[in-house]
Amino acid sequence: MIVNENPVAARPAPASNRGIWGWMRQKLFSSPANTVLTVVTGWLLYIGLTPVISWSFIEADWFGSDRSACDGGACWVFITARIEQFIYGFYPEDLRWRVDLVFLQTGLLLLWLMPQSMPGKKWGVIYALSIFPISSFFLLSGGLGLEMVDTHKWGGLMLTLVLALVGIVAALPFGVLLALGRRSEMPVIRFFCTTFIEVWRGVPLITVLFMASVMLPLFVPEEVVFDKLVRALIGIVMFQSAYMAEVVRGGLQAIPRGQYEAAAAMGLGYWKMMRLVILPQALKMVIPGIVNTFIALFKDTSLVLIIGLFDLLAIVQAGLADPKWLGFAIEGYVFAGFVFWFFCFSMSRYSQSLEKRLNTGHKA
């Protein structure tokens, strides 16, 4: 028999971290073989990375007006000299302040809405969903006394962001509705949503864009045909909502039946149950999938070049063909790649912080 009457007081956990040197000795130089491996890897990294760093930073040339400014290393002059065109496309120079104003609004809204605690977030959301899109529409395309700017003059980063932002903002709600519809108990709605999803998901985006820009005008009377950008946008939104719907459906199916039952038992109707109980949990669960779709969408916007819209990638490519700037393809693609990566990586980081913030440490 054992009886222990002496309670052991809680002690702090032993310190596992013995500083950076302790960590290195333990992880990198624990044995002769490990030491050799560390040294060889370090050397490979050195010979691999030095030329890249030296080409892109140390020997690179940054500013100037033409290619004579470049001597060895990366010629970022190609980018800096054309940066305005890469950002605004063929948007008339004297009207670019209107685009800047939209950029500014977007930036301020992101600063307002993304951090966890900001004053008046509710108003920020209302602004973002009402005044912001309407004002942006008139600022970019004109009207209400502003000079009209035809969408074929839009281009570059601005066009990429318009496509991505509209796509993202529209695809999520449509996707949620489609996902709910696919799980509906009403056969007609379920059939319609399932068909919609399967049709759009089964067609390549390139085909969708081609249909929108080439075939649609053949089938509808000329007066009805609307702007090419709008057609591309509708195509992108339809396509991405189908993907989004399946991501959201995954989340809906992961919610235990007990949650539906508890909500129903309290007298919540279908829409309140979805809005207050089911969707907040389901969407939180599929944040990685949603952001994955957003990132895919962001990069897919570059496909609009095949229907003659000049997004960032297309306009960089067009710049490469300029006789004055032949031979700077690497700089051009690295720049375009970096811009795309920057936006996608930002979305990814934000989604990770969002996941952490929304984690209440409990699966239903």
Partner: protein, 258 residues
């Protein structure tokens, strides 16, 4: 605090709160509920027991339409359960339910769990709903946990929150579906204590449970179900000391043996 049903004397009155008439239900070809007749008067406390698969949970889930019955009538507080969504939602507002696995909403705090339905279904102002919720949380003895999330509470605490959440809707009837079956033994008592208190205040209760001690203390009637039928129904004293049916005797001998 239990304004709607705090009259113990109502227990003796004849006003039927719940009436099941010739209730029948099938899962596919399987006949789960067979000709169930049951009348629950206002203020009555009824304990339902029986082996698993006997249809006891299904029966009380039919009362608030979490399950649909195929034949027979269910009348709650004079309102017949039909396919009409309005009727169903109306009945659900008046019938509270506590589940075996608590089913708290994990993305909401304890307080938000308690105020969700009062605010969105009963249209109570938030301040008022919160004040009422705090009263009920005090009664189940966890007001200090109001701002925590369900995931941070023990099972017993979660179940008490679930009870408070149901009470916040000020229901006429409370249904308990094996409320202590998922709890560790040392937490069962804290939940049962709350249920006993509620019973003593005159709440109409239907409890599916295997807690025979609870049945003996508070039940007005004990119902034994087997194979979808009500086999025996009696006041607890006679039910436990002098069971009539062979099936009841067998069941009681099995659960009371140890």
């Amino acid at each position: 605090m239990m304004t709607s049903v705090n009259n113990a004397e109502m227990a003796g009155s004849d006003s039927a709160m719940i009436e099941l008439r010739k209730l029948n239900k099938w899962y596919g070809d399987f006949h789960v509920l067979r000709d169930i007749d049951l009348t629950v008067r206002k203020g009555e406390r009824i304990v339902i027991c029986g082996p698993s698969g006997s249809g006891k949970s299904t029966m009380i889930r039919c009362i608030n339409r979490l399950e649909e019955h195929q034949q027979g009538d269910i009348i709650i507080n004079g309102r017949e359960m039909t396919n009409d969504l309005k009727d169903i939602e109306q009945v659900r507002m008046e019938v509270g339910m506590v589940f075996q696995h608590f089913n708290l909403f994990p993305h909401l705090t304890v307080l938000e769990n308690c105020t969700l339905a009062p605010i969105w279904v009963r249209k109570q102002p938030r301040k008022e709903a919160e004040a009422i919720a705090m009263q009920y949380l005090e009664r189940v003895r966890i007001p200090d946990q109001a701002d925590k999330y369900p995931g941070q509470l023990s099972g017993g605490q979660q179940q008490r929150v679930a009870i408070a959440r149901s009470l916040c809707m000020n229901p006429q009837v409370m249904l308990f579906d094996e409320p202590t079956s998922a709890l560790d033994p040392e937490m069962i008592k804290e939940v049962l204590d709350v249920m006993v208190e509620l019973a003593n205040e005159g709440m109409t209760m239907l409890c599916v449970t295997h807690e025979m001690g609870f049945a003996k203390t508070v039940a007005d009637r004990v119902i034994f179900m087997d194979e979808g039928q009500i086999v025996e129904e009696n006041e607890p004293e006679s039910f436990f000391n002098n069971p009539q049916s062979e099936r009841t005797k067998l069941f009681l001998s099995q659960i009371l043996q140890h």
